[in-house]
Symmetry: C2
């Protein structure tokens, strides 16, 4: 039997410890190809590069594994992987991460890691974004790796239909304290911004984004609840932003 | 009665003809403040600027109207407008656009114009993204302006709840050929990429994103159908990316 072909990407850049951990897991399950940003691309959301050319360099980062660094966004990486690097080949699974920090709840919409996974799903590639709730570059990925392997194996055995992806967040806990996983919906949380204002060396004002994550949605079926209670959260996600409830309520508007 | 406070932004940059047309309409309906990118930011999706400071300069682009150019993404513009420029004031409506080109269907996810509107909706500001199906900087915005005024008036009189926005696309037609508007869902269309490969002056390879918009979802309740049949499409949209159908189907997975 041929090994499944697994595309690995991320948004923290090709040399981040998180992608290294993910590569170690993925390499046990299939043939892997890496196309990842050449520099950190956190918070890039679903950005694509339209007005500039993209660079793609074959690099030797992981012994024996085909890897490319790309000058673009995480979404650009997936597009280039599909249409240039792996042109004509069927990609069985795309995994993105392991992100350094949470992508639960509303974070999915700002996250390059999850946008890369979503782009793969739009390309008919089953995909999963993985995030560990630890921003540190010295984070311990070992407990996460155990669960990521199980989830990847499940996904390889049970491919999801077009336009679907999984948003997987893993609590910062030792392996024996992770209680398992919970299928969840994204919590209705949000960021409250607080720009730090300052002056640059030439005296000009600047504003630097800061903020606090506020969750007021404490229902047990949410990803935030799962994470706060020692579970891995698994949110099936997709690209359709239609608000069907509002559409139903507004469908009868026939004049303005 | 005090005039409503309307925030105007876009992704084509503060000097694009589209935002000028939108400002002309908005100025008839309320007090307006403009915070828009200092350069084109198309395709930036929901990107935010985390690792760099942002610049915000008060500029005189529209006589008598408070306006700021921002060095960041469209989403950054909305955050700065809310938390710095208009700190403490209630914004009654945010309008983004008029985008030069369609943001129907899957385009919403790549669009800086719509991401700005979505960010406003996350900040509890009723918001609307407007797009005209004409990429030209010489586009005729006059027919669009007539309908945009009606839609803005409707939104000011009927504010939507938290987390909602409208994605409005306007066909490239003379006023008397626009049949009206249709409340729609986003069509299940997608882009098929085709990178243009070349060599730069120093002989290094580059890849430049190109692509074709493919729609295989021809249902009458979609935005693409509306636009193809001479209607303005109005899609109530939101930020929740949970795939509830898939969640229902996967809820019983209890082991991996």
């Amino acid at each position: 039997m041929t090994k499944p072909l697994i595309l690995v990407t991320n948004d923290d850049g090709i040399v981040a410890p998180g992608i290294r951990a993910l590569v170690e897991v993925a390499a046990e399950l299939g043939e892997i190809v890496i196309v990842a940003p050449d520099a950190p691309q956190s918070g890039k959301g679903h950005a694509i590069t339209i007005h500039d050319p993209l660079r793609l360099n074959k690099v030797q980062v992981f012994p024996g594994i085909e890897a490319y660094e790309c000058s673009g966004t995480p979404v650009d990486c997936v597009k280039l992987a599909k249409h240039v690097v792996l042109k004509g080949r069927t990609i069985d699974l795309c995994v993105s991460g392991i992100n350094h920090g949470s992508n639960a709840s509303i974070n999915i919409i700002y996250s390059g890691t999850l946008s890369a996974a979503m782009e793969a799903s739009l390309e008919d590639i089953p995909s999963i974004g993985f995030s560990l709730l630890d921003f540190s570059f010295e984070a311990d990925f070992e407990p996460a790796k155990v669960w990521i392997k199980k989830i990847m194996q499940y996904a390889l055995n049970n491919p999801f239909p077009h336009g679907n992806l999984l948003n997987v967040n893993i609590p910062k806990l030792p392996l024996d304290q992770i209680k398992g996983f919970r299928m969840s919906r994204q919590a209705e949380a949000r960021w409250i911004e607080n720009f730090v204002e300052g002056r640059d060396p030439s005296g000009q004002p600047y504003y630097w984004l800061s903020g606090e994550f506020i969750n007021q949605d404490h229902a047990e079926d949410t990803d935030v609840w799962a994470l706060e209670h020692g579970y891995i959260s698994v949110v099936p996600s997709m690209h359709d932003l239609t608000n069907y409830k509002a559409l139903e309520a507004m469908r009868d508007i026939d004049h303005l």
